[in-house]
Subunit: 210 residues, 2 copies
Amino acid sequence: VERTVAEQPLKIDFYFDFASPYAWLISDRLEQLAARYQREVVWRPVLLFAIFKAVGLPAPMETDAKRKYMLHDMERSARYYGVPYRHPANFPAISPVPGRLFYGLAEREPAQAKAFARQALRAHFVDGKDITRPEVVAEIAGEAGIPASSVEAALTGERGKSLLRESIENATRRGVIGSPFVIVDDEPFFGADRLDHIEWWLNSQTRVEA
Amino acid sequence: VERTVAEQPLKIDFYFDFASPYAWLISDRLEQLAARYQREVVWRPVLLFAIFKAVGLPAPMETDAKRKYMLHDMERSARYYGVPYRHPANFPAISPVPGRLFYGLAEREPAQAKAFARQALRAHFVDGKDITRPEVVAEIAGEAGIPASSVEAALTGERGKSLLRESIENATRRGVIGSPFVIVDDEPFFGADRLDHIEWWLNSQTRVEA
């Protein structure tokens, strides 16, 4: 039994909003980094507007000067990281539909849920798909290889909805203040620009344990 | 005459608040980066609270969840960058005193003004000096090698005050939304974590011109 427990890979919690460009910009590189450190990335979609409301933060896009800078930085950061990016026409999108679908799949088929999430970020930020529309989101799930019956059940069931709400509460309790927000064990990292810090931190942990 | 103009080094504008930890964390490395690209860093202290008020942004430290994360990230970022850092007892400080002194010196003695600014960031973020107190700020200027008579004139004169106000208006017009905020030609970069992006951008400019 102990051997089985020890073989459970350590996790990295990846809190994000499906409508967050910086989440898309970090997602593949975070998976690659985690793989190098034998960690498993646990994708945890949330609705940022609900977190902002809960902790009393204004949405960054509400202020003209900040919105202008961020729109510029998003596109430039994509070029800097070499990640394909096309700014979505409906931005920022409200993302309960992919959130519900994700959690509707996650309990029974976590690999399917993650495959859907990766496909949804790409579809939204590269192909311009509107992730607020259930029929578009169902199509994206189909492209990720998820059977139509599972998609339908996950989209319409109550379980995905309640798990999304629980995840938002959990994120708020853990201090999530934006997207992407990565928690390694209990160490929090906010932003697409914290990947080097995360790697430095993982290295320092390894050294301590060795 | 054309030769003289061509020999003027290109600039990098460094907008910052004397009370900003992330400004301290980037300042030395920004100078080193600029030197590698034959650029001159023009230090432009501002008062962040005045900019936030002008553009309608709340101070990030106002929200509990964000303050908690940022305080943690400031100390961790200092360790990550290898920059000495001790969180000041009075934080965030209001910084008109060093701002006025800086601009009081800057017109006639720009090198002295920069030497003072570097010393002030170090004194505040390493030695815990209270930069809200004129006598402490005058002492810091003395340590930076600035004659007492110049310090006294700069601290009490109206010129420093009006230039600080002009600099805040200029920063607001140029889209500054926080500290540090670096503008290379017209390209804006916000945050201590954008140095790699700045270098990438400088490289791309060099390639275009070559």
